[in-house]
């Protein structure tokens, strides 16, 4: 598959990628930038993609890395600005961003490892083996994290309802 074909195939997952970022509390416009960044990475690492693998899995792997890099970049900038003694503007966290949206809010309350498993296994509908590949963890861990995450989510929904 040529690079161009790969990119055009990858564009079919635009909405999946946008939602991947959006459900982690990223705003829509920032999410679009991150999707774009994911496609840039796909172009950069296209040689590492083997057509036998699922493209959606490869894209989510890149998207996850983009998200991690963005968080690190933001953290570095904040540390730098703090060291200059600037007053920090309040950064909008996922909980703030999702306050009016039950599902987004609840998912944002999970710890990062649980949130990732829910995002990939529930919303992106990847089989556990693919989730394990993206996260670099054993399939058994995916399974136990999924159970824990769903239990926590149920508790949250039940609490909110009561």
């Amino acid at each position: 598959m040529s690079g161009e074909e790969l990119l055009s195939e990858a564009r079919k997952f635009e909405k999946n990628l946008l939602n991947f970022f959006w459900r982690q509390g990223v705003s829509l416009s920032e999410g679009e930038d991150l999707v774009q960044e994911t496609y840039l990475r796909l172009w950069k690492y296209r040689a590492e993609y083997s057509p036998e693998a699922k493209l959606s899995t490869f894209l989510l792997l890149l998207a996850r890395q983009v998200r991690i890099d963005t968080l690190r970049r933001v953290a570095r900038r904040e540390t730098r600005e703090e060291s200059w003694g600037r007053e920090q503007p309040r950064v909008q966290g996922p909980a703030d961003a999702c306050a009016r949206d039950d599902v987004r809010w609840a998912v944002s309350q999970l710890t990062e490892p649980l949130r990732e498993v829910v995002e990939l296994g529930v919303f992106q509908d990847l089989p556990y083996a693919e989730v394990a590949k993206v996260l670099g963890i054993p399939v058994g861990t995916v399974k136990s994290r999924m159970s824990n995450a769903l239990k926590k989510l149920k508790e949250m929904f039940d609490e909110r309802r009561s």
């Binding site: 564009r11 939602n19 509908d125 769903l150």
Partner: protein, 169 residues
Amino acid sequence: MNADLEKTLDELGPAYRDMVLKMKAAPEASPVGRPFSPFGASARRPASGRVPYLVAAALAAFVALAVVVRSAFAPGGAGASAVHNPYTLAYGGMSESAVDEMLRTQRPDGSWANDFITRQNAAALRGVASASVAYRRAVRYLRSKGLSPLSPAELRERGALAAKTLASI
């Protein structure tokens, strides 16, 4: 729902299945219609700001003709300069086709699809003699919003994709 998740839900009970179905049915974000291009070539614009279809088509035909004619006379023969991937250009370095693409897709107010792309494109056009007007328009737009083009350091930071990638094309 995939078989693995089904199995987990079977173990957890029907209440969990309902919960997951509701979660999956929750509203999702939709792309605003901009296919992702560093230049924002096809960004959705408000209907009131759209160029009438025929004018846009004529303009596109003219630009396509210009590109074909130019590439025919370019060193290396027909089509030699048309081989590029827009995803690499704003980061890796500037080629003439990248500049053309940016000039073609710049909005009348000097912006592109969004502020980030405008900052990126303005930075890329800095110092390109044939795009000085577009550069100034972009900078004026950015200033009006309290922004500036990406700095060389920011470009470098985002564009590890630099010359290496270009060289591999």
